[in-house]
């Protein structure tokens, strides 16, 4: 990748480009890039779309952005609505708004406010969110720290520290009859687990704390285990 001497691509208003290598790419308005793009900085404001792969150092999508291929970027921030139809490899991901990733997501640190959908696996060191999330495969993180805002789901969750809390506010209590906030998953495995409002078939780990509104099939623990009064645990075993 040698985009050093390449120029900038700017689309203001309505326009299309064929992609290529650039230093800065700025799409304002309705810009379309028709093939792969490599650049240092990518910015899309309004309705931007890339029909191909995006490879950049930093990428920022504000408004409505769509990438039909893969994205590889050390920094990706999405404000508004972002859609990546394939895999995403990102060091730092910041989402405020709604993001969907069709394939796998791999990153080091992700902070999500809003909603995120990942079709495949989600692998990250830190997953921090106040969000809705839905992950088709495995959520694998050193530290999962989420506040649930709606119906969240993941096939499996594995990691070191997993903390799931329910969002509590007047608004949430007000809408409780309409919106159920809970997390649904088959399996949670971690060293330190603290969960609330979670439906899981199996929870395994060292130190497990089951908070209110949980419905767990089986808990296996090697260290400590505490359970809230309102939680339902069918079976628990010390191993």
């Amino acid at each position: 990748m040698e985009p050093k001497n390449s120029g900038d691509l700017t689309i203001n208003g309505f326009g299309a480009s064929n992609g290529g290598q650039f230093t800065n790419v700025i799409l304002n308005g309705k810009g379309t890039v028709n093939s792969d793009i490599e650049c240092d900085n990518f910015e899309s404001n309004g309705t931007g779309s890339v029909k191909g792969n995006l490879h950049s150092k930093t990428a920022k999508i504000s408004g409505n952005g769509k990438i039909t291929g893969n994205i590889e970027s050390s920094m990706l921030s999405i404000e508004g609505r972002g859609k990546i139809e394939n895999n995403a490899i990102v060091n730092r991901l910041k989402v405020s708004g709604n993001t969907s990733i069709g394939g796998n997501l791999k990153c080091e640190e992700m902070k999500v406010k809003g909603r995120i959908t990942v079709g495949g696996n989600c692998e990250t060191d830190l997953f921090k969110g106040e969000c809705y999330f839905s992950i088709g495969g495995l959520l694998n993180a050193d530290r999962v720290d989420v506040k649930l805002f709606g119906e969240c789901s993941a096939q499996e969750i594995g990691g070191q520290t997993i903390v799931v809390r329910q969002k509590t506010s007047i608004m949430a209590n007000l809408f409780k009859p309409f919106f159920q906030t809970f997390l649904e998953t088959d399996l949670i495995e971690g060293d330190h687990i603290e969960i609330e409002s979670t439906k899981a078939k199996i929870v395994r780990g060292n130190n497990i704390k089951i908070g209110p509104n949980c419905k767990i099939g089986l808990v296996e623990y090697s260290g400590t285990f505490t359970q809230d009064k309102s939680a339902i645990v069918d079976e628990s075993r010390k191993i």
């Binding site: 692998e123 060191d125 050193d142 070191q160 495995e189 060293d191 199996i202 099939g217």
Partner: protein, 207 residues
Amino acid sequence: MNEDLISKKDLLELAGISYGQLYRWKRKDLIPEEWFVRKSTFTGQETFFPKDKILERINKIQTMKENLSLDELADMFSPNLTDLTLEKDELIKRNIVSSDVIHFYLENDKGDLQFDLTRMLEVFILEKLLQSGDISLEEGKMLMQVLKDNTGLIKQKSCELVMVRKLGISTCLLLVNAEAAHFENGTKVIAQLSLLTCMEEIRAKLL
């Protein structure tokens, strides 16, 4: 699937590692995805691993992780030839090759003193066969030629190197993804080496 399998729970206990570590290593690709075997059991889905492979790998990770970062370790275990290069002296120090053989190699190769994995493999095989006395120096040159001409193949496929001799005339061939090879009567198979195995041996020495 006749390998011995070990469940995740037993593995953690046996190896003395935590869920966090296991998941972290999985995330860093230190443990290949295909080793995670899912099976239904009476408690639901469970994950199993091929026992020997995973225990060996964990052992390596644990002994190595003090000196190398997880990313460097991931490079070590990746099946591709990575961009690791070593100096000639380093190779001798790490016991991959003896100084006699490396001088012979350099005389014929005339390359520089930096060895990437491809060249390391060549020199390692040469070392093996020359030191065991199976081949002569002249045959060693032939061997080098074969390996050099087929570098691309070696990278991608499972390759086997065969050296045969009949009536004092020797030849050398590479079998790519072959199941077996049969030779004429009276042909002596001097050496048969799997390049993948050699690669692993080198990696083990690098670790």
